[in-house]
Symmetry: C2
Subunit: 362 residues, 2 copies
Amino acid sequence: MNDLHNVDDPASYMHGSFWRKHPEFRRIPWRATGWRDRAFDFAHPEVREYHFRLVEEYAERYDFDGLELDWMRFGFHFRPGAELEGGRLLTGFVRRTRTLLDHWEPRRGHKIRLGVRVPSRPQTAIDLGMDGALWAREGLIDLLVFTPFWASIETDMPVELWRRLAGDRVTLAAGLELLLRPYHTYRPLQFNSIETVRGAAASLLARGADRVYLFNYMDSQTEMPDKEHYGELLRTCGRLDTLAGRFRRHIVTYADTVAPGEPMPAQLPKTLDAGQWTSFRLHCSPPLRRAKLRMEVEGAALATVRINGAECRAAEAESGIKPGPDRGFTVWDIPGGAAGFAVVDVQAQTPGKIHWVEIAGV
Amino acid sequence: MNDLHNVDDPASYMHGSFWRKHPEFRRIPWRATGWRDRAFDFAHPEVREYHFRLVEEYAERYDFDGLELDWMRFGFHFRPGAELEGGRLLTGFVRRTRTLLDHWEPRRGHKIRLGVRVPSRPQTAIDLGMDGALWAREGLIDLLVFTPFWASIETDMPVELWRRLAGDRVTLAAGLELLLRPYHTYRPLQFNSIETVRGAAASLLARGADRVYLFNYMDSQTEMPDKEHYGELLRTCGRLDTLAGRFRRHIVTYADTVAPGEPMPAQLPKTLDAGQWTSFRLHCSPPLRRAKLRMEVEGAALATVRINGAECRAAEAESGIKPGPDRGFTVWDIPGGAAGFAVVDVQAQTPGKIHWVEIAGV
């Protein structure tokens, strides 16, 4: 609904004439630092009308089964501080779209479903003007995709909270992005593999997501480095029964989308003094019967590592795993496996820093 | 339900014999670093039974109008990783308490209400086993207080989300603590004043809280330094009409309670490079007609300051304001005042650090 690729180059072939001709309709007219500043500001009736005309045109020209309003490209539709009033305008836009599709359904002779994409966490979605839970409650949408924007797959999205807020009638889909970072400034940039997608998909489905939704998982250009597994991903990662019994990796990542001023929640990196305890949490469901803990540890020697209270035994270090740290993993065996939320309690013997935390197993 | 004062001194007169005799019932039997490690673990039936016997004893001995189960003293009732199963046990405890009160109501000849205190944010409350929203939905409780633990008043609690989750039948109360910090390690330790309580109370009531709930606002020992205003606080800070027209301060603080491993969300402190933009958000309702922005700025010269897009004019610096920074405030006038969520956009001219952000006015 508001794609911003290359807006720093106004001459780019990607831009329509409406955007080019109306800089006064941009989200932050007084600044042009990042792409987001030059997004359309949907508070302007002209902007909403322009986009609704596009929807009308699609509905008239094409006989489709469903339409998606992707509010997560790029997720910023109002000037800072105007998002709550803005949310009411977007609710109006979604309602108007639903009414349009209602009008086309008898002519097309079938249901026309409506889907939306919104930020991964309900409060952030509301604070950015994308109140997907309300749209579901009001029966305006059939599919609600909650998702990070792009910078990393988000493995711990609050599925249960979405369900409570959105109700049972909507199809809830967990959106998976292609990149994987433990935290925002982590380097090098890496991509998911079949094993990390399995982990995220299994956990989010086990927590109540009806579907997994893939973004940027293409078969060219933006694709997994292990593209030989792409077919398997499409065939197996959408349901718990097809995921069962396969090796998967549950990795601590972070939420890449926040409202203006909202702190970005990230567990990593974590700097430790000698003797200091810290905790990490990650969700490992369905249960892993055999599981190991892998961490990227810089400097620190770790005196004790426990998962949900159970002491873990040091195992052999692993290197060369991708995605994974260039310096390789320190590894522990988890007695009894892992199930549900796993809390990792760690005590540092010497000072250092932890950059990556995951549980992998079958 | 689980007070931990002085648990590092097992001989303290504060402890009951049940706690002393049963170290095996503690939350983290394998560690004793902080007070929280030695909390009762409510996963043990003996622990739940012990506390329920206390409730029974109170109900039998005293004719009270309402009972509060304060799960926020100290907010940690299960071993790390066991909080979701634990939450089902606490739901059982609350239900059993409600049933007990139902039994006493006809004997006492009046309603006996039930209240609880839970963490400030719904996801954290669930993740710590205190599913207050569910208890409200199931009709088990009459009063739901969401609150930080102790380290700081939390000025931006998600009242609207609580309402959606908990429904309309419960009385929702915003819990205010006595201390005030912009972030966890801020020094020196300071207390709220009548002006900062007015700000927090006005904002949370305007966002839909039915009540303001005070904790640690006593008339001796733990009290506001400006205790001459204590009477006024009690008379005026509970309702928007009695707060109207009084000078108030809306201050950025943080959430002091997180589940094990959950990142602690804080907007401050913020380190800035030369030329870098950053944003802060705070809620200022009901609208302030005349308002100024105050920040504690270390080092940085700020090139531009805008609130919801409107450029602010530099005003005279202020010092000696308490609570407030020892180095005093840099101040800006906000054209047109402030209403609802205010997003402060700041560009640094030279590198530095921002420690405190507030909007004050009438």
